[in-house]
């Protein structure tokens, strides 16, 4: 999912744009006006189209029928096969056992769900805000960008889970170390994608706004942000998924609450139906995140697809 834009941090095309792309207002005075070139290199053409796993809205009744049918066959089939071969519950529980466990254990699980969602939301909100602001600022100053880039790459590539034990040592077993880990994991993802978006400068559009007397701030809000929006949304999507992974991972490493903690708890007791019920909840959270950003993308960045 949108793997390429995450990593094409420095392509020749963007490199060229970087040169003076920051002071664009002033730089308009030093750019040869050329429009005919459709800018297609760099982080372009990414959009959400690449990230939409066939979440189309135009499904026919026949397609819906097939989709439901396949789901029934897979779930029913696994139920049947597991029973047929007499697979023990502690190896792999049947779907019906998992759903039953989800209902019977729900009163014990939901406080942990709230903890996980709280940590994810707070950590993501902090990380995404900082990442977005950083992206907006450093793309305005190519020199700063050159200095900051290696550290951002370091943050992106280092698994933030590795820091959790250290953070727990410093901050204790509360939510704080996990929130910090989530922020550290999601922030750079948001930043790196947003920065790719902000670098997609269309000189003609900026010139247009300038010709109507736009200020630098207006160019930022009316031209640059909307233009970067598809990539910003991809960044938010990738960042929040990374945040979810880190939340659960951090909870598994230490602490006494959260869905990650439940995973280690149930697996230690070999209560596999309950274990898979938690996995089911995590999957639903992940898919909800995806669908949420898919619809946000449809609403705010549909012009690109």
């Amino acid at each position: 999912m949108a793997a390429s834009p995450m990593w094409d941090w420095r392509l020749p095309e963007t490199e060229r744009m970087l040169e003076g792309g920051a002071r664009v207002d002033k730089a308009l005075g030093d750019k040869i006006p050329e429009f005919n070139k459709k800018k297609s290199g760099g982080g372009d053409g990414v959009g959400l189209s690449g990230a939409s796993l066939g979440l189309g809205d135009h499904r026919t009744k026949f397609e819906i029928l097939i989709i439901i049918l396949v789901a029934v066959v897979i779930i029913g089939g696994s139920e049947f096969l597991l029973k047929w071969f007499g697979v023990p519950q502690y190896v792999l529980p049947t779907p019906s056992q998992i759903v039953t466990a989800l209902f019977t254990e729900w009163k014990f699980i939901w406080p942990h769900l709230l903890v996980t969602l709280y940590e994810l939301l707070v950590g993501f909100a902090i990380g995404a805000s900082i990442g977005f602001v950083l992206a907006a600022v450093i793309t305005q100053f190519p020199f700063v960008e050159k200095i900051v880039t290696p550290y951002i790459l370091l943050l992106v590539t280092t698994p933030m889970l590795a820091l959790v034990p250290l953070l727990i040592l410093k901050l204790g077993f509360g939510s704080e170390p996990r929130i910090i880990a989530v922020a550290l994991a999601s922030g750079p993802m948001v930043m790196i994608n947003s920065a790719t978006g902000f670098r997609r400068v269309d000189l003609a559009k900026i010139a247009l706004a300038r010709s109507f007397g736009a200020s630098t701030f207006q160019i930022f809000t009316k031209i640059r942000i909307p233009m970067a929006m598809p990539m910003i949304i991809v960044g938010l999507m990738v960042g929040s998924i990374f945040g979810l992974l880190t939340t659960v991972g951090a909870e598994m490493v230490g602490g006494a609450e959260g869905l990650g903690n439940r995973l280690t708890y149930y697996s230690a007791l070999i209560r596999m139906p309950q274990f898979f019920a938690v996995i089911l909840i995590l999957a639903i959270i992940g898919i909800s995140i995806y669908v949420l950003f898919y619809w946000i993308g449809k609403k705010w960045a549909s012009w690109e697809a």
Partner: protein, 276 residues
């Protein structure tokens, strides 16, 4: 509006009009990685009030640079550009630009695109004027459409409405119809001629098509390349309104050949490339 048309007919193309904009010894160097590019060299040009001036030249001759400087989007290395008594150093509210490829914002529908100038100037949208303009260019009823849903001609008509909506007195057009097909282009040329006759705006129109320049202009300023200079200025005294089929008449073609010859004359002959 009618008054303007009558005045224009009475005045004719050759009459002396007052100066709208004056370009004096404009010189521009671009700084690039590989060194500096000499884009404009001592360009002096007078734009007369209410005239239709075409700037004609091959690609890369600096005509867009000249136009961008006139619009206040560029700094000059030397020389100056004045609109009446005011020196142009930044975009001026009396000047509106129309760009190549319409340049509509793809994330805004037509209405929001046309409202952009008002938004940027923090002024209330002049809906009455916009509606009248939309009707004039046959875009009435398309306000909720997005640019990608419109044809190239419709997009460019929308961008004309956007520029005229703030009622500028000087329109700078940078090869606006270059990306359109020949038929749409003829249509747009007729439309812009009509709009010019109705509104009495001053228009500076950059193009690389000789026949387009002759069809539209009162005067054609021919530029030569590297560095960009004004080579010659031709008066076009064909009476208006000019129909599209005028372009096939012998005297029109003669004008085209005349200007073409003057451009070719300025070039160095290709040594050793004789075509027999």
């Amino acid at each position: 509006m009618m008054d303007a048309t009558h005045m224009r007919k009475a005045a004719g193309a050759s009459d002396k009009r007052s100066t709208k904009m004056l370009v004096e010894r404009a010189t521009k160097y671009y700084q690039t990685r590989t060194g500096s590019v000499h884009a404009l060299d001592n360009v002096s040009l007078e734009v007369r009030d209410g005239e239709f001036l075409c700037i004609l030249g091959p690609s890369g001759c600096g005509k867009s640079t000249l136009l961008w400087s006139m619009g206040g989007l560029h700094d000059l290395t030397d020389g100056e550009i004045r609109l009446g008594p005011e020196k142009i150093t930044k975009p001026h509210p009396e000047i509106a630009m129309i760009f190549q490829d319409a340049n509509l914002l793809p994330w805004r529908n037509l209405a929001a695109n046309i409202a952009l100038p008002f938004e940027l100037k923090r002024k209330p949208v002049d809906q009455e004027r916009i509606d009248a303009l939309l009707k004039r260019v046959d875009l009435w009823g398309f306000e909720s459409k997005f640019p990608r849903e419109l044809s190239g001609g419709m997009q460019q008509r929308a961008s004309i409405v956007r520029s005229l909506s703030v009622n500028p007195s000087l329109l700078l057009m940078d090869e606006p119809f270059g990306a359109l097909d020949a038929f749409t282009r003829d249509e747009m040329n007729l439309l812009i001629q009509e709009i010019w006759m109705e509104t009495g705006k001053t228009i500076v129109f950059v193009t690389h098509s000789i026949s387009e320049a002759i069809f539209l202009a009162d005067r054609v300023a021919v530029m030569s390349a590297r560095p960009g200079r004004i080579a010659r200025i031709f008066d076009i005294d064909i009476p208006r309104p000019r129909p599209v089929d005028i372009q096939t008449r012998p005297d029109f073609i003669e004008r085209v050949l005349h200007i073409k010859a003057s451009i070719d004359h300025g070039r160095k002959p290709h040594v050793g490339l004789a075509i027999t």
